[in-house]
Symmetry: C2
Subunit: 378 residues, 2 copies
Amino acid sequence: MPLCHYIYLGFISMSGSDKCLQGQSPDEQDYLRYFRSYAFISHQRSMLEDHKRTSAYHRAILDNRRQFEGKVVLDVGTGSGILAMFAARAGARKVYAVEATSMAEQARKLVTANQLDNIVTVIQGTMETVELPEKVDIIISEWMGYLLLRETMLDSVLVARDRFLKPGGAMYPSHARLLWAPIRARESAERKADFDRVMEHWEWFLIDMKNHYQIDMDVLTLPYIAEQKQNYLGGGEWADVHPDQLLSEPLASPLLDLHRITIEELKAGVTGEGSVMLKSHEPIDAICGWFDVSFRGSPEQPADHPIDLDTAPDAQGATHWGQTIFMLQPPLRPQPGDQLALNFAVFRREDYERLLRVRLATRLVPSGTTVQQEYSVD
Amino acid sequence: MPLCHYIYLGFISMSGSDKCLQGQSPDEQDYLRYFRSYAFISHQRSMLEDHKRTSAYHRAILDNRRQFEGKVVLDVGTGSGILAMFAARAGARKVYAVEATSMAEQARKLVTANQLDNIVTVIQGTMETVELPEKVDIIISEWMGYLLLRETMLDSVLVARDRFLKPGGAMYPSHARLLWAPIRARESAERKADFDRVMEHWEWFLIDMKNHYQIDMDVLTLPYIAEQKQNYLGGGEWADVHPDQLLSEPLASPLLDLHRITIEELKAGVTGEGSVMLKSHEPIDAICGWFDVSFRGSPEQPADHPIDLDTAPDAQGATHWGQTIFMLQPPLRPQPGDQLALNFAVFRREDYERLLRVRLATRLVPSGTTVQQEYSVD
């Protein structure tokens, strides 16, 4: 029997199956589920034409040419080679551009076509296994995933740092953080309606199976409810949120310092808590998460012109990262005078490490309504 | 950088990346790309509620109860357990229901809820590794994928046959074949238009990258054209074809006899050729492929009531398999008096064995236009 032609939206979380065959290594799962898409030129193109993203890196490097001139640079996950080429244009003495997929072949062609092959060397491999002839002054990388940490390419960046960055060397970007805010969002009611429709369909299905085949499938109803709740309401969903949807100022996580954070700290998760003043007391449909990064250089090699790349809700439209929204069903209903206390924890899932678990606890203060839910960011 | 939220239609072929990490076994790739979806109840449900499919099996088993009474049966890839339950209802003495995924747990619950657990034993495992206490009289299985052979679950069925079927035992279904016909299809012009739009976008992208970043990406144009041609026009696509679209009677492959075909023969591919009389001389937009199977029992144990399950274009709508259509761009343009000669070959791809290569050669006779193309069924 075939796989049904499901429309797979990269973000709808579907639980139920995470058992792997014996002996299957994380690397091997990884390749199939993650790396493959980066080998497509169309995927590279859609990232390149995200101008908020690409121009932030362009300015971070070219506005800070003094920090790049004469230096040795490593580009982790170079893709098309674009950041490596920016670094070469900013006057780097040597750039190593490492790419795990066959996109490395395209990067090599581009570097040559742009006459930068005397500076930029493209190497196909992973940061865990590649060898470089020397240590580097600067590591550049565009590693951020949905909600900052999905994909966990950051691990490879930290491995690169630990293996190849000279003491006092600079990470570009240098800092990152997560931000959260309560929002109004019609998606929440829509997903609930989708779920209700699916359950109605299920009731008919049960009757159908009894009538046609005299088979009683009701014992599957509870597992099916759990499966579909997770599917429709249990995942973080990509959205292009308008600033008008925000119901408070954002709550930020502690700043992650890319020069100092360890892989163990990363594995332990990014957590935080705080309170926000609600702008209005309409129902809160969802919690919206996003990230920003900044390019400040290292303490020993500060950037002349610090640059920020921020993916907050924007009236002009989202970067390709969008924001990630987590439904509150039913909506939270603040009383007059309530503030919102929010507690968040973002962890990697042990089975598929590029997927995230997000625990959100929301409490209305002082009226006391508390909701805690764990979501999957697939 | 995140995976863009691509809409993945299970069928649009995307070439470009098939390099695997060292040491990755076919089984391990397999699990991730194939088995996982069967662990979802919603997936099982959508197959069960395909009544053309499920009722064909119901009749094939229940109408042939004389062939099942007192027999030992094996259900390969039992999923929800439905076929095993049909066999038990038809009077089987014992049914072994083997399922590779965690759906086996649900099957076990269903078998118990329907009071058939004295007859049906659900075993979680693969046919390649499972042990059974005895040989079986009958193997039942719903193994067919898109274009019959995608997914290649048939391999597991043949392994089961070779390991467990008694001499003279019966396979349900017993026979299968592929069928082909030229069709009119607006998808062909639509995909061409999609491709043209993407290439127009690419031209703007090149200008954009030069203006914003002074980077020349033109060296990627030829690989990008190849990538997108394969994406839009190089794959077999799922469609629900109406009989009015057919431009001739179908051409059928030789009949595959499930009692006799070997795994080596299967690997060598399903090929055939022939000519069809065209009903009209309008342009031929695509070649449409589908399959049928029949339940005739074995020569030693023939079915009292042979049943056919056919997935041909149907005015009442397709089974969940649909048909598979292969675009001819530009369309073939028959002259008055032309017939269509068609030569087809369907092979497994060496890298991902559940994916197919389909070679179609079409020739208009006598006017002479010949087109040969190799497609991917992903």
